[in-house]
């Protein structure tokens, strides 16, 4: 019996496809998320919108909160650690979390290096803004990628930019001659062996999800139509006026993302979405997507 092989790590990411991963901060929210059809929950002390409001240093959540959420639901539970903070990741692994998000939403612990994720038994998801960043994280052992988007804003524009950038990067690789791949790997700053695989297969070797700014069923459908294989919804659910109904609507919108009749049906009757803040208006130091490289 072999545990924790890369195959098994990517395997769980495969099982989450076509689903919605929801940020929750307590047991009640976790149960609402599970009842609404969340495929997994992200256990947090504060959702990204509140992290922005409170300021200060955002760290790994209190393990007790994560444990309570883990006990309350039957679906996989994820938690975030700071970029480069492998000690936080070790604690989360010990706690028996199902997936770790090495996340730019928390204050980075290392501005040069990300965690060497191959050394862990638990799988990792990481954010990316373009293909080079995605392939660097996969090189370090990430078993799932997601767009960074701009978390906690309710503004979808950055997630769209990042998803398009990744897919454009993949299409470019597919058109290149073998001779050009090494130069492209250098330009991307990405491991050559993974560049070769992506050029051959025309897709990332791990599932590619959307995150950062999804607030409505239409946002979820947009990201799926752009090629996301599942979506993360952070502040969009519990910062809205009707979390349970909105959560359920977004779940249906992800399964039937290509069907405008369903999208119309689930979008009707929802109360107000989160108010949000245009990502463009954020000063540089408040742009979370710029954390990590």
């Amino acid at each position: 019996m072999e545990k924790s092989s890369y195959e098994v790590k990517v395997g769980l990411a495969e099982m989450l496809k076509g689903g919605v991963i929801m940020d929750v901060t307590n047991v009640d929210q976790a149960k609402i998320a599970e009842d609404a059809g969340a495929v997994a929950v992200m256990a947090l002390e504060r959702i990204p919108a509140d992290i922005r409001t409170y300021g200060g240093i955002a760290r790994m959540s209190n393990p007790e909160i994560i444990l309570k959420i883990k006990e309350a639901v039957s679906i996989p539970v994820m938690a975030k650690c700071r970029i480069g903070h492998f000690a936080e990741a070790q604690i989360l692994e010990e706690l028996g979390i199902d997936f770790i998000d090495e996340s730019e939403v928390l204050t980075p612990a290392d501005e040069e290096n990300h965690i060497w994720k191959h050394d862990f038994k638990v799988p990792f998801v990481c954010g990316c803004r373009d293909l080079g960043e995605a392939l660097r994280r996969i090189g370090e052992g990430a078993a799932m990628m997601r767009t960074k988007g701009e978390a906690g804003t309710g503004d979808i524009v950055e997630a769209v930019r990042h998803m398009r950038a990744v897919n454009r990067g993949i299409r470019c690789l597919q058109m290149m001659d073998k001779e050009e791949l090494m130069a492209e790997a250098k330009r991307l700053g990405a491991p050559f062996s993974i560049v070769e695989i992506v050029a051959q297969k025309g897709k990332l070797p791990v599932p590619n999800f959307a995150a950062g700014g999804i607030a409505t069923p239409a946002d979820a459908s947009l990201m799926m139509q752009l090629g996301a294989e599942a979506v993360f919804v952070g502040s969009g659910i519990f910062k809205s006026e009707d979390p349970a109904a909105r959560a359920e609507a977004i779940v249906k919108a992800v399964t039937y993302y290509h069907d405008p009749a369903v999208l119309l049906e689930v979008s009707k009757g929802l109360k107000d979405a989160m108010i949000g803040k245009p990502a463009k208006e954020l000063p540089d130091e408040e742009q979370l997507a710029k954390r990590g490289w």
Binding site: K3, S4, L12, K17, G18, S74, G96
Partner: protein, 188 residues
């Protein structure tokens, strides 16, 4: 021409479609009741059984699948096996009760307990490299149920006539033998 559907509500349905296509089998994703009409068999993939439970009854109902399964072949992997079985103690999951087998959800613990193992097949001498992800356990089977794959004395794949269920994920490997078995021994 034989056509197989893969339930595409949530989970690893694309991987099943890829394997079927590699075997030159015509295969389509299934999200609506009408999708079942032209099919000779259905695969219910792995994913989260709570999510599939929650979403069945929207554009495709439990009854639609239940009726389909009375005469047509159905293969459930992981979450799909849970839905096909009966007697699951978790109220968050609804079951079709198609197979005479009691299935326990997520029986090995959290993701770090997920594993790969070479399992013994009843129909071939070479073992199958099986991937178990937060896998269910087959606790008890009826007399009409046959064990198709096992390891350490435990059943991990079972067959009841034209119905097949696996606790592992044959769609996550490049080995097509389990899908071929389904095509030859369950689908007419």
């Amino acid at each position: 021409m034989t056509q197989i559907g893969v339930l595409a509500i949530q989970g690893a349905f694309c991987k099943h479609l890829d394997i079927l296509h590699s075997l030159h089998v015509k295969a389509i994703p299934v999200k609506y009741a009408k999708d079942l009409e032209s099919l000779d068999g259905l695969i219910i993939p792995g994913g989260e059984s709570t999510v599939i439970t929650r979403q069945l009854g929207f554009r495709l109902s439990w009854e639609d699948i239940y009726h389909f399964a009375q005469e047509k072949a159905v293969f459930g992997t992981c979450a799909g096996l849970i839905l096909m079985g009966k007697g699951c103690s978790d109220p968050r999951v609804r079951q079709l009760g198609l197979m005479n087998a009691i299935i326990e959800r997520n029986a090995y613990g959290s993701q770090i307990e997920s594993f790969t193992e070479d399992v013994t097949l009843s129909f071939d001498t070479y073992p199958f490299h099986a991937v178990f992800i937060r896998a269910p356990k087959i606790l008890k089977i009826g007399k009409d149920v046959e064990i198709i794959a096992s390891f350490q004395g435990e059943a991990v794949m079972i067959q009841q006539g034209h119905l097949l269920g696996a606790a592992f994920h044959p769609e996550l490997t490049n080995d097509t033998r389990v899908h071929e078995y389904f095509m030859h021994h369950c689908v007419n």
